[in-house]
């Protein structure tokens, strides 16, 4: 039932065409490869921008979540699998972030230089196409194929670029993830049987849940989890590893430490957010009852991530690992917004996904630029860099403030909404998250002040230069976005209104009509 032009397929095809073009280019024509990569990134960016701008006009179909630009082509009718794509208010922002960090990754690679451009850009583009597929697919088999397929280019990307530690880090990451993904596949097959032999998201969401039947071990009377709960846990584990939630996080610091910034902007920017995406799109709506069953556990893990990541960031000496742990803490915040299961919390989580994508990309770029200049990543071997690098100081300051949740910048907008949503669920959540905010202030200042202030460290290299013009122009748009989203977060909020309502409705077991409809508020201003 494809209506109109297949815009979403085009979103997948453009990068793949770019990859093919790069594949056909001889290795020595590096400039051509770079041009192709840039064109692919820009074309994807404009395409996604166009989709977002036309989003409100596009027709929506389906329930419980209505998708726009929907496509549906029969693929394996025997098993009920189709090529189904769709865009909603949730995936629109993930798609936008995907396009932005992809472009950013390409730009950073161009600015910083990359040693095997053909391999790097080819793999980066293929990964981007796979993540776009994960975000757009509305068929669970297709989703799974993209989800697993993403690991393929990612494996080569991670194991071919980065420092000496990368091999071990990559094996850890891949081993960690693949093991649980197979469980998720089993869960998908289970859902397929429950939904009358269809992999379609709509069909599975509409299935009659048989949650009441308890598996008992014959002869013993052991009561185990329901099949739906098993399936939920399989999904939740796969997503929790991807986010990652503590204690499933140990692949992250090693991997982030070894990757170059060009790969990191993309990886930290979008790949780890797909776990959040999975929680909202699949765990929450396909298993509304189970989500409530396990809400306490998930909230505990989110709070643990916030505090644990912050404490680790407070003691770490490697500047890239500090940022890596701060990322764990921030993703704990985003998870908190999702698991609170309130409209405002979910709004905050989606907003914070965008915000964090921008902030973490900027932070990793800055860390790499500092490492290049000082020749070390050891925090205790650096101080007083402000004098030599005023531009670096200024842009790093804005980024660090945004990261620690400074009101007026984008990090606050998301955290405020998340904490308000969590507060609605329970005040305890907001108070513990508040402790995380104070700790964030502490570790971000420890990082920023430690590098920038105090007298210049004695062992510092001679002749450090400030940010060069093109390096500045990578960071300035990011910092401008932090200010803009801090003052006008409604840019994000406007688009996902309807979809968030639908997700929240789907996550409640009662019918959707119970959710309050928008009512205009009249301000009674005291004069």
């Amino acid at each position: 039932m494809t209506t109109g032009f297949s815009w979403l397929t085009l979103v997948l095809l453009v990068p793949i065409l770019g990859a093919v073009a790069i594949l056909c280019t001889p290795r020595r024509e590096a400039w051509l490869i770079k041009t192709f990569a840039l064109i692919a990134a820009l074309a994807t960016g404009f395409l996604v921008l166009g989709l977002l701008l036309n989003y409100s006009q596009a027709a929506a179909t389906g329930s419980p979540i209505s998708f726009k630009y929907a496509e549906n082509v029969q693929w394996l009718p025997q098993i009920g699998a189709s090529y189904r794509l769709g865009l909603d208010g949730l995936s629109a922002w993930f798609l936008a972030l995907n396009a932005v960090v992809f472009l950013l990754g390409v730009v950073v690679a161009l600015v910083r230089g990359v040693d095997r451009p053909k391999l790097f850009f080819g793999l980066l583009i293929l990964t981007e196409a796979a993540t776009a597929g994960v975000i757009l697919s509305t068929d669970l088999l297709l989703f799974y194929l993209f989800w697993e397929g993403m690991l393929l280019p990612l494996y080569f990307l991670l194991s071919s670029f980065g420092n000496e530690k990368r091999q071990r880090a990559t094996v850890k990451f891949i081993g960690y993830t693949v093991a649980w993904y197979l469980l998720m596949l089993l869960a998908i097959i289970y859902l397929h049987t429950q939904a009358g032999g269809s992999f379609s998201y709509d069909a599975i969401a509409a299935r009659q849940t048989t949650g009441q039947s308890i598996i008992t071990v014959p002869g013993f009377g052991w009561k185990l989890l329901t099949p739906d709960q098993f399936a939920f846990l399989a999904f939740a584990l796969a997503f929790a590893i991807k986010v990652p939630l503590v204690p499933f996080h140990t692949w992250l610091p090693d991997l982030y430490e070894s990757l170059p910034a060009s790969g990191l902007t993309f990886f930290a920017g979008i790949v780890s957010k797909l776990g959040i995406y999975g929680f909202i799109r699949y765990a929450m709506t396909l298993f509304p009852k189970e989500m409530h069953d396990f809400q306490g556990l998930l909230l505990a893990l989110a709070l643990l991530s916030i505090l644990y990541g912050a404490f680790m960031a407070l003691q770490e000496v490697d500047i890239k690992r500090i940022v890596a742990y701060s990322s764990i803490s921030h993703l704990g915040f985003i998870s908190l917004g999702v698991f609170a299961l309130t409209v405002i919390g979910l709004h905050g989580a989606i907003l914070q996904v965008i915000n964090h994508g921008i902030i973490i990309a900027a932070l990793f770029i800055i860390m790499e630029l500092i490492e290049v200049r000082t020749g070390t990543r050891d925090r205790s071997l650096m101080s007083g860099l402000e004098k030599a690098m005023p531009w670096m100081y200024f842009l790093f300051m804005i980024t660090a403030l945004a990261a620690l949740g400074m009101p007026g910048l984008n990090g606050f907008a998301g955290e405020f909404m998340i904490m308000l949503g969590a507060f609605e669920a329970s005040w305890v959540l907001a108070v513990i998250a508040g402790i995380g905010v104070v700790l964030a202030g502490w570790y971000m200042l420890r990082l920023h002040q430690g590098l920038m202030h105090d007298p210049l460290h004695k062992g510092t290299k001679e002749g450090m230069t400030d940010l060069r013009l093109r390096e500045r122009w990578v960071l300035i748009p990011l910092c401008a976005a932090m200010v803009a989203l801090g003052l006008f977060p409604n840019i994000v909020g406007q688009l996902d209104q309807g979809s968030v309502q639908q997700y929240m409705a789907a996550s409640h077991t009662q019918p959707a009509s119970a959710i309050t409809q928008p009512t205009p508020l009249t301000h009674e201003v005291h004069a």
């Binding site: 009512t519 301000h523 009674e524």
Partner: protein, 660 residues
């Protein structure tokens, strides 16, 4: 006042300092010192002019039409559940804050031109200073909780920049971080207070939409029952935010350290503006505080307690700026006491006069430090009055105003707020607080004149005071203007005057619509100055005792006074010298345990448990493989044996199940 006019005023008042800051940040440098100085000062002067025009327009309006709230843009709207707009308000309270911030701020900026004359970072300095003024104005104009929180935090971050301005000094860097983290604690308290407010206040039309607009909240303040636990919690959290910003116990330790910043910074943010924001916050949220009597009492006690403690500490400090810093903490404590007692206008009145004489004292101290080539230890000064004649006279006026000597500004405001306490407070507790309050008067007189006498009078303790020079004119003019204001402002604000058609009212009457018009249950009654006569007489007497004691001890150096001083128990002097050991206490009770937890996470939890289980699984799989490997022996007889064994096992299980 029309909406359009107020919007224009808001945009101009915020716009001038912000643009000034951006220009200096982008184009300023030590080579373009002239441009930097002009941009830095004119931007604040322009904001002051706009504020003054706004005041005149406000005075021409009828008193019921003086508060106007404008909506600038929607910050975040969630259909059906949340509506956050950026709203600014111009009313009697915010216009007073605007005038103080821009007026005193302008004088301090002019002074800075001279003070920073030889500093390489002058562009950075003015960019930060302008940004600070912008943040402070942002805060006082806020009419929306998010707007307020943003302003609240912007003030903290710009003070962080300014305290750590000389970033190559490790002590300045540490002080800046300490101040900022204390502020973040206050921010979080404020955010959670905001959550409690929005989830509990009834929306105007009975919907479930959360509104964060302060006029709406105050209008629906009847949602909060008098003395209910909700409003008590809200006010406690608001008070924590206010204490962090106003350096009140137990969040006060950052203020003395913050003296690491340049002296004009101390004058601007640690005397006139930032630290008074807590007083402003409580006054602004008075409809809620009026409903939380327990927290009002707590606020009053904390205020008077901090004031007393700071007064004692100030007596033994030897750094000229730290003495003034503790004096500030003490005076802010009195303001906090006043707003805790429900005397909002009295607290605001003291805020205004204090801004004048405390900025004056800091700038005077700046002249001394300038003349002594960055020396701040008062033990090496002495006799400076002969060399710095104008500074000495101004400093004397500031000290007189601070001590509350009749007809100087501080006398009107301080005796007013203390008198309020004894007349309107409830019973014995109020009387006790009042008695402590008048004891603080003695302390104030003592430390104020101790400082003046040791620095300016007596014989020079070293050769350096003899070589000191008076400050250049650009640093003297602001000092003299502030001295004039410190001398007359109290009287001026007390006395209603009429200029043609523009009617200037007395301060309390001008503010009274803000503090009474909102339907907020039992509102405290403002006494005005006249009804505080008894308090005024007692308070004045105590102030005179303090001043007299100080002059005998440190100016005339009478031997019998020395012996009196030596009879003070040792533990009191020790507490005073060590600032009541709060830094040590917090370090041991909070900072070290948190560091220990973090270290424990890094050294033990992460490698052993978090990573341990993953590695464990890996090792386990390896081991399993190694264990199973021998079974793959390649011998047919082994395989047959396994086959028979498992077939038998299978049969037994099947039979078992069927038989059951």
């Amino acid at each position: 006042m029309s909406q359009g006019f107020v919007t224009t005023v808001v945009l101009l008042v915020l716009g001038f300092p912000l643009i000034g800051s951006l220009i200096n940040a982008a184009f300023g440098s030590a080579k373009r010192r002239g441009l930097v100085n002009i941009v830095g000062t004119v931007s604040i002067g322009a904001a002051f002019v706009v504020s003054a025009v706004a005041l005149i327009v406000m005075l021409t309006a009828a008193s019921s039409h003086r508060a106007v709230t404008v909506t600038l843009w929607n910050w975040y709207v969630v259909g059906g559940s949340l509506s956050v707009a950026f709203q600014a308000t111009l009313d009697q309270l915010s216009i007073i804050m605007l005038l103080v911030v821009t007026g005193v701020g302008f004088l301090i900026h002019v002074y800075s031109v001279g003070y920073m004359e030889h500093d390489e970072g002058v562009a950075r300095f003015f960019a930060y200073m302008n940004f600070f003024v912008f943040s402070m104005l942002f805060l006082v104009l806020a009419a929306d909780l998010v707007f307020l929180i943003i302003g609240w935090a912007l003030v903290a971050v710009s003070s962080y920049f300014l305290i750590g301005f000389w970033y190559e000094r490790p002590s300045a860097v540490a002080a800046a971080r300490k101040a900022f983290i204390t502020q973040v604690i206050g921010d979080v308290a404020l955010v959670i207070a905001a959550f409690l407010i929005v989830t509990n206040v009834m929306s105007p039309i009975g919907t479930h939409i959360y509104s964060l607009s302060m006029p709406t909240i105050f209008h629906n303040v009847a949602s909060f029952q008098y003395g209910s636990s909700t409003v008590t919690w809200i006010c406690l959290l608001l008070a924590i935010g206010a204490f962090a910003k106003s350096a009140q116990f137990p969040l006060h330790t950052w203020l003395p350290d913050a003296m690491e910043g340049p002296t004009p910074v101390s004058a601007l943010i640690h005397a006139a503006t930032m630290v008074t924001a807590g007083v402003y916050l409580i006054a602004r949220f008075h409809p809620l505080f009026d409903r939380a009597p327990i927290i009002q009492g707590l606020v009053a006690c904390v205020g008077i307690g901090t004031s007393f403690m700071a007064g004692i500490i100030a007596l033994s400090q030897v750094d000229i700026k730290r003495v003034i810093a503790y004096s500030t903490m003490s005076q802010i404590g009195l303001m906090i006491y006043a707003v805790g007692m429900g005397a909002y206008a009295a607290g605001m009145y003291h805020l205004v006069t204090h801004a004048f004489f405390k900025a004056l004292l800091f700038l005077g101290a700046g002249n001394v430090i300038h003349a002594m080539h960055d020396e701040q230890d008062i033990r090496v000064m002495g006799g400076l009055g002969k060399r710095l004649k104008i500074t000495e006279k101004s400093f004397l006026i500031g000290s007189l105003a601070l001590s509350g000597i009749p007809l100087f500004a501080g006398w009107f405001s301080k005796e007013n707020l203390l008198g309020y306490g004894v007349l309107n407070g409830p019973g014995h507790v109020a009387l006790l607080l009042y008695i402590i309050g008048v004891c603080i008067n003695v302390l104030t007189g003592l430390y104020a004149f101790r400082l003046w006498a040791i620095v300016f009078k007596g014989e020079p303790q070293t050769a350096r005071p003899a070589a000191a020079h008076e400050a250049p004119r650009i640093m003297l003019v602001p000092v003299v203007i502030l001295a004039a204001l410190s001398a007359i402002a109290g009287f001026f604000l007390w006395w209603p005057v009429a200029f043609g058609s523009v009617r200037v009212q007395d301060f309390t009457q001008f503010l009274s619509p803000v503090f009474t018009s909102i339907t907020s249950g039992p509102l405290a009654h403002e006494p005005g100055v006249a009804s505080g006569w008894i308090g005024m007489l007692v308070g004045t007497a105590m102030s005179l005792i303090g001043v007299g004691g100080a002059l005998r001890l440190w100016l005339r150096r009478e031997p019998d006074a020395e012996t009196v001083a030596s009879r003070i128990p040792r533990f009191i002097t020790q507490l005073s010298m060590h600032k009541f050991y709060f830094d040590e206490l917090y370090d041991a009770a909070i900072v070290r345990p948190l560091r220990a937890v973090a270290k424990w996470c890094r050294k033990l939890i992460e490698p052993e448990i978090m990573d341990g289980w993953v590695e464990g699984v890996g090792i386990g799989v390896d081991d399993l493989g190694n264990t199973l490997q021998p079974f793959q022996s390649g011998l047919i007889r082994d395989y047959i044996a396994y086959m028979v064994f498992f077939a038998l096992l299978f049969v037994i299980i099947i039979v078992g199940v069927v038989v059951r």
